[in-house]
Amino acid sequence: MSIMSYNGGAVMAMRGKDCVAIASDRRFGVQAQMVTTDFQKIFPMGDRLYIGLAGLATDVQTVSQRLKFRLNLYELKEGRQIKPKTFMSMVSNLLYERRFGPYYIEPVIAGLDPKTFEPFICSLDLIGCPMVTEDFVVSGTCAEQMYGMCESLWEPDMERQAFEMTCPVSRIIEFDRMSTTVDSKWDSKGIISKDGRCGNNTASSKSMI
């Protein structure tokens, strides 16, 4: 039994044409036992910046709260919204501070630059190694399934509409396959584009025991 699969969960983010999407499941469970189906794993860190946290549920909550604290101080000092790349460095620093006793989470960041609206996605490992990609990032217990789905479905410069379908579909499909991330609604926290953000809530059609 691994610490990372004790609660289970998965998040992913994809990059499209002038927009990004981030999605997660909503299951909170203790090993095989489901406890809640509305557990939040994606947190807004700015108008156009979200972080999704997969891993141990207690650390998901603690890290999001501690991060928000640091972010608030940043915004008060700088007087502006944080850029996604800077935010990634902030998360990396927070996680590496605990190098030899880490938070058991693997974050995924998706957002648009507050001024240029340039789309940005990245993921980090549990000790804060950042990884910026051009296409998609995945994290969680069914990461391998998500890699497979994303690699086959993602295309460069996908328009917003096409995006809305690709992201959810790839989530549902691997959710069905992973017992620690199924049987609950999952949350596509949103397609974030420069004029607005859109949050969708969709259901998985099957359940697996």
Binding site: M4, Y104, I127, M165, G196, N200
Partner: protein, 251 residues
């Protein structure tokens, strides 16, 4: 070779399986690296950057635990910049080497950073390899990582002292390619960094022998494939950044 040492139940991104190498040619140093980062048996990053900036004249390749190489090089780079401002001189490679080895030794090998440090300073081109426990070697050419044997084989065959820049770049490229194709832990592109007195050529990518194929069919899903339960659209205000007023002549 370090992948086996780091057996852990928690996931950690390793660049353990990479090839780093550099060697001084006539008046400079050439560093090379592949671009694959693995998480267990899965490729986590297909195009990561393993050649890290230390100072304008010194660059460092990192193998081992990805976060450790990233953070260690950043810490030493920062300290070296402060040191350089204090001395008023361009930093020396030996200084960076000393700082890195003293930090790594302090952590007794728990910081899994295997580094290959290269640069050109007032005393010429230098090349060091630094191991996670803090030992260092100063050599004419080095390789590190899981693909190091494949790369070293190419080096031992074709290396000669005082090569020209193009010859050196080609040799480095071939050595990395040997690792990319023969070692499972290395892959994707070849990054090269050529450092000479007063100039740095960071070629990322220098060569892309593993371009992704084009997809034959379209796998797009129709709108409505996934049922949406609830939808909440939040329009965001766009900040006024620039306002220009153009007057119209209505006479």
């Amino acid at each position: 070779m370090f992948l086996t040492c780091f057996k852990k139940e928690k996931k950690q991104k390793n660049i353990a399986c990479i090839i780093l190498l550099l060697f001084p040619w006539k008046d400079g140093v050439v560093l090379g690296a592949d671009t694959r980062a693995t998480e267990g048996m899965v490729v986590a990053d297909k195009n990561c950057s393993k050649i890290h900036y230390i100072s304008p004249n010194i660059y460092c390749c990192g193998a081992g635990t990805a976060a450790d190489t990233e953070m260690t090089t950043q810490i030493i780079s920062s300290n070296l910049e402060l040191h350089s401002l204090s001395t008023g001189r361009l930093p020396r490679v030996a200084t960076a080497n000393r700082m890195l080895k003293q930090m790594l030794f302090r952590y007794q090998g728990y910081i899994g950073a295997a580094l290959v440090l290269g640069g050109v300073d007032c005393l010429g081109p230098h090349l060091y390899s630094i191991y996670p426990h803090g030992s260092t070697d100063k050599l004419p050419y080095v390789t590190m990582g899981s693909g190091s044997l494949a790369a070293m084989a190419v080096f031992e065959d074709r290396y000669k002292p005082d090569m020209e820049e193009e010859e050196a770049k080609q040799l480095v490229r071939d050595a990395i390619a040997a690792g990319i194709f023969n070692d499972l832990g290395s892959g994707s592109n070849i990054d090269v960094c050529v450092i000479t007195k007063g100039k740095v050529d960071y070629l990322r990518p220098h060569d892309e022998p593993n371009k992704k194929g084009t997809r034959a069919g379209s796998y797009r899903y129709k709108q409505g494939t996934t049922g949406i339960l609830t939808k909440a659209v939040t329009p965001l205000d766009l900040e006024v950044v620039e306002e220009t007023v153009q007057t119209m002549d209505t006479s």
